[in-house]
């Protein structure tokens, strides 16, 4: 699928998505639910700030010693009987994976959810050599069935679809009865039955990697559905693909970060399954893969490591920033035109895929700082967004808004009618979750310093330009 979804301009994608009422309602309720779950899980844990500091120090230590830990990991994977392939580019990664699959003369490939394999367009590369590639995560499975619709959320990829739309896809593609129920439970159980046969016949299992563990040579996979367990149990060959920064020194740090991931992502103490896989099956085991391959991908990450955006590599892909973002709430995941949406996407996508197509993303932010406050590993997301704007203006000389106004810190889009319209259309909605009795008493990010002392008035529902137009029409009254 690659990182980029389509060639449309940012404003066109935003405008299209602003018109999708169901999607926006679904996104709002998903955000509320995931965010509410996170707050409860974090509250239950206690000392959340200390956990965040610990998460941050682990991730920073790993990045500062990344060469050592990847070396140690590869040594230990080999010791456990596995193979390791270091890939600079998506092409190198895909060519290696194709060769592994071809050597097995395999055509039936099963996958569990993985962002990095989306990043390198692995499915397409495998289809090119005649494989059928099946996504097993329920959300991804639905999208794949629906003529390869795109994920709109890192953790809940099909959040923009309702159950009636999903049922329709099942009727069309799987022969689900037209008068069958559109209950989530019935739809999911139907998939359970259908996918069983695919599991039993799969030849190659492909997974991502939540955290690799250097000192034991393991990878860990975090899921609720049990699909990663099956994908790493039944096929004879397993290939795991990881971005090179997704690593921890030992099981002890894995545990800390998995706890922060599951709480931040879905509000659970642990997900139903945390699978730790170390090499292929042992000689005396019956199930599990006979061959284990780990592909470690750079794809621009070493350049990020050297620069001022290094801290974005701390990310553990929990999407807590997405779930609190007022801009994401309004424009939805597809507007980011990238597999990585929300604040983390606005920071990461331009770094991985360049400013040419994504220079608007750092401006798709109100800089409210809610993302920074929510991040379990303390990535200063809104500061990185500002840094992007600075780079775009100073080094690239191609800001989508006037430099002068921006340098004064004036709101982003005032000089640009498109951005201004989008911004003013969404301002009231953006403020809504924070407001009570037409005032904001609990702001986030930079606004917090103000609201600690006094309330901040919420944005008027009627836009100034609309009010002005009306006033003009009435003859200035």
């Amino acid at each position: 699928m690659a990182i980029k979804y389509n060639d449309n301009a940012f404003k066109d994608n935003v405008n299209t998505n602003l018109e999708r009422d169901f999607m926006r309602g679904a996104v709002t309720s998903a955000q509320n639910r995931l965010h509410g779950g996170r707050l409860k899980a974090v509250d239950e844990l206690g000392d959340w700030e200390e956990w965040r500091k610990h998460g941050e120090e682990i991730r920073q230590h790993v990045l500062d010693n990344l060469d050592y830990y990847l070396y140690e990991l590869s040594e230990n994977v080999e010791k456990a009987g596995g193979h390791v392939f270091f890939a600079q580019t998506p092409e190198e990664a895909n060519a290696y994976i194709q060769s592994v699959v071809q050597k097995q003369q395999a055509t039936r490939v099963l996958k569990s959810k993985s962002m990095v394999t989306e990043e390198i367009s692995l499915n397409e590369a495998l289809e090119e050599i005649g494989c059928t590639v099946l996504e097993t995560d329920l959300g991804e499975y639905i999208l794949q069935l629906d003529d390869h619709d795109k994920p709109s959320h890192i953790v809940a990829p099909s959040v923009h679809k309702n159950r009636f739309q999903i049922k329709e896809v099942f009727v069309k593609k799987l022969g689900y009865p037209e008068d069958g129920s559109a209950d989530a439970k019935d739809l999911a159980r139907f998939v359970r039955t259908i996918l069983r046969d695919d599991y039993m016949q799969a030849e190659v299992g492909i997974t991502g990697c939540n955290f690799a563990i250097a000192d034991s040579g393991s990878i860990s996979l975090v899921t609720n559905e049990g699909n990663a367990g099956l994908v790493t149990t039944i096929p004879k060959t397993q290939i795991a693909v990881m971005g090179m920064e997704r690593i921890v020194p030992s099981l002890e740090e894995m545990e800390v970060l998995v706890n922060m991931l599951t709480r931040s992502a879905v509000g659970q103490k642990l997900t139903s399954y945390v699978n730790v896989i170390t090499g292929p099956k042992r000689a005396e085991d019956v199930d599990g893969p006979e061959e284990f391959h780990l592909v470690i991908l750079d794809n621009g990450r070493s350049d990020i490591l050297a620069g001022e955006f290094k801290s974005v590599l701390q990310c553990i892909r929990c999407a807590a920033c997405v779930n609190v973002c007022p801009v994401y709430r309004h424009i939805g995941g597809h507007s980011y035109n990238s597999i990585y949406s929300g604040p983390i996407g606005a920071v990461l996508t331009p770094l991985l895929a360049g400013y040419d197509d994504f220079k608007e993303l750092p401006y798709a932010s109100s800089l409210c700082g809610a993302c920074t406050d929510a991040c379990p590993v303390k990535i200063p997301l809104h500061e990185l967004l500002l840094k992007h704007r600075q780079v775009i203006v100073e080094k690239e000389g191609r800001a989508p808004v006037s430099e002068g106004l921006m340098m004064k810190g004036f709101s982003v889009g005032a000089s640009n009618s498109t951005l201004f319209n989008v911004g003013t259309k969404i301002a009231a909605a953006v403020m809504k979750p924070l407001s009570k009795d037409q005032m904001i008493s609990k702001g986030v990010g930079p606004l917090k310093d103000w609201t600690d002392i006094r309330d901040f008035p919420i944005v008027e529902r009627e836009k100034l330009r609309d009010w002005f137009d009306k006033r003009e029409k009435k003859g200035g009254k």
């Binding site: 270091f86 399954y273 292929p280």
Partner: protein
């Protein structure tokens, strides 16, 4: 085999402004250790209460606490509660030590239940098919974790991963003495037992907290997606 490592790691070292040297293990000097404080002050019975309470929050997850003499009866009851019919289970000495062999070698067959004991002499496909045809899978856990309602399963000879994944329900037997406050203590013990002793971890270490589930359709929680729909944990109180 390891391919393309040197060039890859040298590039990273360059990004970090230093030469690549894999000999010096970095010192971890954490300023924070919040994970060690959580629940660590509780007695074993308090941990048991916390475990039971958390399992109540998971979906379709029962906990039964019995002495070793009553495990056989408890397993039989759990099998019947989950609808009987057919059972797949590990080929595990720990089951025999608890007298469960009487169930799966005689009594269940007499009652007409189909039984598949994981069999290293059969092919993987045959083991998968028989397990997939089973209504219930029975496994033995290395640890139980109070905070998250988790059981920890190791793969090994006779201990097929598929048994805990393919059937509609799974039953995990676990000794109360292996109950730990949270995952923190369990992984510390694994580090000591395996990594520090120079041994490789089991090919699969699975932390399982209740049955499989998904909220991918309209954020509506569905229990039982690819894996089991029901779970029963049987805690052996005197072991």
């Amino acid at each position: 085999m390891i391919q393309n490592r040197e060039k890859f790691l040298e590039k990273i070292a360059t990004s970090l402004n230093r030469p690549f040297s894999p000999t010096q293990k970095p010192v971890r000097n954490w300023q924070h250790k919040p994970e060690e404080k959580k629940l660590s002050h509780l007695s074993i019975d308090e941990l048991m209460s916390a475990f039971v309470e958390q399992c109540g929050r998971l979906n379709n997850t029962n906990v039964v606490e019995v002495s070793s003499g009553d495990v056989k009866k408890a397993v039989d009851e759990a099998v019947k509660q989950h609808g009987g019919e057919s059972v797949a289970l590990w080929n595990d000495e720990r089951f025999r030590a608890l007298g469960l062999d009487e169930l799966y070698e005689n009594e269940w067959a007499d009652e007409g239940l189909r039984v598949h004991v994981w069999d290293s002499n059969l092919s993987r496909t045959e083991n998968f098919e028989r397990t997939n045809d089973s209504n219930i899978g029975i496994v033995f856990a290395e640890y139980a974790l109070a905070e998250s309602g988790t059981v920890v399963l190791y793969s090994a000879e006779g201990q097929g991963k598929a048994v805990g994944l393919l059937p509609n329900a799974f039953i995990a037997i676990v000794k109360k003495s292996t109950l730990r406050p949270r995952i923190t203590q369990a992984v510390k013990e694994m580090e000591r037992e395996f990594v520090e002793a120079g041994k490789t971890l089991p090919a699969a270490v699975d932390f399982v907290s209740g049955p499989s589930n998904s909220a991918d359709i309209e954020m509506d929680l569905v229990v039982g997606v690819h894996g089991p729909i029901y779970a029963t944990y049987i805690v052996v109180s005197d072991q």
